[in-house]
Symmetry: C2
Subunit: 217 residues, 2 copies
């Protein structure tokens, strides 16, 4: 059984539905690391409640200062707009975030008796985020194998999926995409302009799936 | 330059002095994970202040619930006494603690611009704690190499030291051992009976170094 690192974003919500469909979702952990778009965790709670999967909210907001200057954290810095391919998007990198989230999830998995931890890194993240790359996932998997008396397996089922592939998978699984959150700005509705909104819109368009998201623009 | 994972315990205090002597201690992070023996962090602050090394206190106490039932965390459970070799000492294992601390330290190192993270796992820890074993350190080092745009080096300078070797090294470096904390019970003075007190006393005896620690017994 698996413990899912679950943010309430599009990718990890599809992962939640996939594991639920396979009866492999033991529980999910959502991590508050001081992100501006904390709204994503409301979506996480909503989906877990719908699927009847226990959701653990882990509050790491007290350590948000260690991450330095990422625009993902600070309400005062401006959020870069445009596509993920642009250099400005590097400003949204939160250093070593995934290693911290997976380390925390593994601790929770050990104490719950789960044998796997899953997270939703995907192909489209590779270019910008060092901690979403296949080599990183592979190295981290080696650590989890030996971090406790019994091995913990790290799974990243979307590592070779594009975001459009994930949208297609979600449509197949009956995900209500309006109950997922992407926008890094953390407003009341998706801005439609920041890197993750642009990526989200493009993914629906490429997949040919109707996008139910309400955007500001 | 290195960022040190620094608890205020005997091992990591000797490491702090070693890095300071080599002019390689950029800063230190102490982590409050809800441990009973939070007193160790007072020692950490004292030694960093003496050596003029910036000390960052990272408060992870809000997540102490994820660790389950370790007797290291809970004031209500009893602390096993006797040597580290006894099965009861497994009750003091905090699952995946070192991976979390190193992941957090790496994030801090990246935001400070340090190129290394050091922690004080040593030979005597191997039998009980999965996350102090050489293979674990090696696997974690591979993760840190690729967790960011520039590699972070993981150092564990005492991995092949016994605790007696560390005491000898500390004596050579002029460490004031009375300003280090080991006891897991977290009382006003060291109990002298819990696993880590027994290990501490044996290390001084083996090393032939005078032990300035005040014990209850």
């Amino acid at each position: 059984m698996a413990l899912l690192v679950y943010s309430g974003g599009l990718d990890s919500t599809v992962m939640l539905y996939k594991y639920a469909a396979e009866s492999r979702a033991d529980a999910a952990v959502g991590i508050n690391y001081g992100q501006r778009h904390i709204k994503e965790l409301e979506m996480a709670r909503w989906n877990c409640s719908k699927l009847n999967i226990p959701f653990f909210d882990v509050d790491l907001s007290s350590i948000s200062g260690i991450f330095g200057d990422s625009s993902l954290m600070s309400k005062s810095s401006s959020m870069p707009e445009g596509s993920y391919n642009e250099a400005g998007m590097k400003a949204t990198v939160v250093p070593n975030r995934n290693m911290i989230m997976i380390a925390v999830a593994a601790a929770r998995a050990i104490s719950l008796g789960c044998d796997s931890v899953a997270y939703a890194a995907h192909g489209g993240d590779h270019a910008i985020y060092p901690d979403c790359r296949p080599d990183f996932v592979k190295a981290l998997a080696e650590v989890l194998k030996i971090c406790d008396y019994s091995p913990i397996r790290l799974e990243a089922p979307f590592l070779n999926f594009s975001k459009a592939d994930i949208v297609l998978e979600g449509a197949r699984l009956g995900v209500d995409f309006s109950k997922t959150w992407s926008c890094y700005k953390g407003g009341d509705i998706h801005c439609g302009k920041c890197g993750t909104c642009v990526e989200r819109r493009q993914a629906f368009a490429s997949a040919g799936v109707c996008d139910p998201t309400e955007y500001e623009i």
